[in-house]
């Protein structure tokens, strides 16, 4: 209370100063400081006036870096330890893995071709020359099978690596010769090649205990230059430099793009800001369909939600198409299954449940639940999440469902979800690649902490289908049984200065376009 009195007092003091036109009397010391500052400013102004614009040689595009602002800077550039999205995205540019994915998410050779010798042996043969670059690390050393072996051995031996569990199935890995690596597994694993997406590090530097986290050395299309404030990378092909800096606030990122302080933004903007940018001169907005899957999860330990008719009622009560059209970024799509239709294990034949509140109400009556049905929906405190939850709440109201929203901080929220303490929750799966997700999220053996079957869904029919790897049947069954209500795949987008070209967007939101982006028109120098 004292504080408020003080501020209001200050406010009136200032007000009276403005009214009387006199200047604020500063204490002596502050006064001299301000005089000094004025003198300094004056000097600066004078020198600025005296200096003539020198005839500088025209800068080539390679000398002018392309500046990208991101919501969250990378944390760790060691591909063996990094798990956050930004680090993973930068590491894809700095390092090359053995295997990558094509547009249908099938594993394809990146550094190496493979054959399955038998159920537990895989032989990888390094390609003589990978697309665009020689098979060499950025420090000039050639990349050989021994580097692959060293990378995977260090991964398996690292106690602190969050990825070591993924590779626990590897019995041993050996270099047959300079170009061939043999993996021996403990258990047969048909999806094994799809796991080898970790970037390859130079063996000599691994042995020397090099700090890859801050000074990465890989064999990717971009080379690490420096990391002081902004992360600076250089493209091997044409020495084009790229600067990545962190700007947390979305409004500030947009303002920086408009003012020419950055050249490129990707993702992490509310749809309204993106629409605002679309209408601005000198800015180009590019969008593409996304693959990150948002859904509504049900708890099968809850007696009401166990009833299929109640889940169907909720599915009919949500107008996903309207949300996608009005409240999401361009490029967003209504989802029918966990994996998008273009995925090789996706199912394009699944239509979303039609929006029909009357039918929803009829289904609830049939199920014999008291109306309005009270349900609690848990979500994080993220503003866009709460906003979407509020839309769901409003849409479900005419369907006879009174949704109570509990927005919890991320830690509490995620812990509750893992513990099964919820009725409904909303989350998004990011970066899904293999149909392994169906086992992870729906198999009755995958209840946390062993997997991510957070709704405690147990269906022997589905378990059988998953074991048989019959993905069309699995997706069909999930669509009918509704352990998740699929909502949408959020679109991917980038906003950039109009001079930038050849930036491609991927459905998973990776920044691979930085390997091809070009500067056709150099940014205009500030007019003054």
């Amino acid at each position: 209370m004292l504080r408020i009195r003080f501020f209001s007092c200050l406010f009136f003091r200032l007000l009276s100063v403005f009214r009387s036109g006199s200047s604020l009397v500063l204490p002596a010391r502050a006064h001299s400081v301000s005089v000094a500052a004025q003198a300094l400013a004056l000097t600066l102004m004078l020198t600025a006036c005296g200096e003539q614009p020198a005839a500088t040689p025209p800068a080539t595009s390679a000398q002018v870096p392309i500046r990208m602002a991101v919501a969250q800077a990378p944390v760790n550039l060691d591909p063996r330890v990094a798990t956050d999205a930004a680090s993973e995205r930068v590491n894809r540019l700095l390092y090359r893995p053995l295997v990558d994915f094509d547009a249908q998410s099938r594993p394809v050779p990146a550094l190496a071709n493979w054959v399955s010798v038998d159920a537990t042996h895989y032989r990888f043969t390094l390609l003589p020359k990978t697309t665009g670059t020689l098979r060499a690390f950025h420090d000039g050393r050639p990349l050989s099978a021994h580097d692959v072996v060293a990378t995977y051995r260090s991964l398996m031996g690292m106690a602190a690596s969050p990825r070591s569990a993924e590779f626990a199935n590897i019995q041993r890995v050996d270099a047959v010769d300079d170009d061939t690596v043999l993996f021996q597994l403990k258990q047969p694993d048909a999806d094994f090649p799809a796991r080898l997406v970790v970037g390859i590090l130079p063996a000599a530097l691994i042995q020397a205990g090099h700090d890859f986290a801050r000074a990465p050395v890989g064999s990717g299309p971009l080379r690490f230059v420096s990391w002081q404030g902004a992360l600076t990378l250089e493209r091997l092909a044409d020495q084009q430099r790229i600067q990545i800096s962190e700007v947390k606030d979305p409004t500030v990122r947009v303002l920086k793009l408009l003012r020419g302080e950055v050249d490129l933004l990707q993702g992490d903007l509310p749809p309204e800001l993106l629409r605002y940018l679309q209408g601005r001169p000198g800015i180009r907005v590019q969008s593409a369909p996304g693959a990150n899957f948002s859904y509504l999860g049900f708890n099968f330990n809850d007696p009401v939600l166990q009833d299929l008719r109640v889940r169907q009622a909720i599915a009919h009560g949500v107008d996903v198409a309207a949300i996608v059209r009005q409240a999401l970024v361009p490029g967003s799509r209504v989802a029918g299954a966990v994996l998008p239709p273009e995925h090789w294990a996706g199912n394009a034949g699944l239509a979303a449940y039609a929006y029909d509140p009357a039918r929803a109400l009829a289904l609830l009556r049939e199920a014999g639940v008291p109306l309005p049905l009270k349900l609690v929906y848990k979500t994080s405190t993220d503003a866009q999440r709460v906003r979407l939850a509020t839309i769901l709440q409003a849409q479900l109201k005419p369907a006879g469902i009174a949704l109570e929203i509990r927005s919890l901080d991320w830690g509490t929220f995620f812990e509750d979800i893992k513990q099964g303490q919820f009725q409904l929750y909303g989350l998004t799966w990011v970066g899904l690649r293999t149909p392994e997700i169906y086992r992870l999220a729906f198999h009755s053996d995958s209840v946390p902490p062993r997997g991510a079957n957070r709704g405690r869904y147990a269906d022997p029919v589905l378990d059988g289908m998953i074991s048989a790897a019959d993905w069309p049947a699995v997706t069909q069954r999930l669509h009918a049984q509704l352990p998740y209500l699929p909502l949408w795949y959020e679109g991917q987008f980038a906003a950039m200065r109009t001079g930038l070209v050849e930036y491609s967007l991927r459905s998973d939101g990776h920044w691979d376009g930085l390997a091809t982006i070009n500067n056709l028109v150099l940014p205009a120098l500030p007019a003054d």
């Binding site: 209370m1 504080r3 408020i4 009195r5 209001s8 979305p250 409004t251 947009v254 303002l255 509310p270 309204e272 800001l273 629409r275 605002y276 309207a322 949300i323 059209r325 009005q326 409240a327 405190t381 503003a383 709460v386 906003r387 939850a389 509020t390 839309i391 709440q393 409003a394 109570e404 929203i405 509990r406 927005s407 919890l408």
Partner: protein, 272 residues
């Protein structure tokens, strides 16, 4: 009270009453949408005849939400002020009148509460108790009684030495009678002024906690949560955050100015 601050306060009191009426009855202002009625086709629409202050990020009428927010802000402030005024004054009276170990104990407790920044303590309480309006009221109550207890105790310490109190004591008046009839009336003026400032502080505190997501939950409106949402769209729809910001400022300023004037009016030295 022919001063602008009085009219502003009166305006917001009426607005809050109207907002409370609307949210309890579930009705809407004639010609306007309800405070929680979503319209996805008019997200962040500019002011027009169907929504005088425009629409928010879910297409809801900002004016109706401002009214609802006013009722939340003022009812939280008034409820918390009444509870803490009662509780704080009582503790302060007991400590000041009796003195001794009771005084030392109570003042040490208040010192502990004073040592914490109030809003931080409220955040901690709201985080432990979970978000929600009732928990918000409890958190604010726990932090804002201290000022009244301190003020009352100091005044009571000096008032009990006054001759009329000593006269009452020698006449055999009971303690409650002395406290309520001989000490409290002399305390009323400073307490009233303190309470006025307290209300302004609580309006800000409620908005701050709601801004952080610890206050009233969606879809109900609070000025703090509206500000938080509005800030995200500052570039696209400045009308949203301006409407809320101006409301909050006018109410707090009016209450503060009113408190200032009240203090001047009640000051014995000045009114002489």
């Amino acid at each position: 009270m022919k001063h602008w601050s009085g009219y502003v306060l009166l305006f917001w009191l009426l607005a809050a009453l109207l907002g409370l009426l609307l949210s309890v009855s579930g009705l809407a202002l004639p010609g306007f949408a309800q405070a929680d009625q979503i319209d996805l086709s008019r997200l962040l629409a500019l002011p027009d005849s169907s929504a005088w202050l425009g629409r928010d990020d879910l297409g809801r009428d900002i004016l109706s939400r401002l009214l609802e927010g006013a009722s939340v802000a003022l009812s939280v402030a008034l409820v918390v002020t009444s509870i803490t005024l009662l509780f704080g004054t009582l503790l302060g009276l007991l400590a000041g009148y009796y003195g001794g170990w009771l005084d030392r104990l109570l003042m040490q407790v208040t010192d502990v509460f004073l040592a914490f920044p109030g809003i931080l303590l409220a955040i901690a309480f709201a985080a432990v108790l979970g978000p929600g309006l009732l928990n918000l009221v409890m958190a604010l109550c726990l932090t804002s009684w201290v000022g009244y207890a301190r003020l009352t105790r100091v005044q009571a310490l000096s008032l009990r030495q006054r001759q009329h109190v000593q006269a009452a004591e020698s006449l055999g008046a009971s303690v409650p009678r002395i406290l309520l009839r001989h000490i409290l009336p002399l305390l009323a003026a400073p307490l009233l002024v303190e309470a006025t400032y307290g209300i302004a502080g609580l309006v800000i505190a409620e908005a701050s906690l709601s801004f952080l997501g610890l206050g009233i939950q969606a879809p109900h409106a609070s000025w703090g949560s509206m500000l938080r949402d509005g800030v995200r769209y500052l570039l696209v729809a400045p009308h949203y955050v301006l409407a809320v910001g101006f409301s909050l400022m006018s109410l707090v300023l009016a209450v503060n100015v009113l408190g200032d004037r009240l203090r001047d009016a009640l000051d014995v030295r000045r009114s002489d």
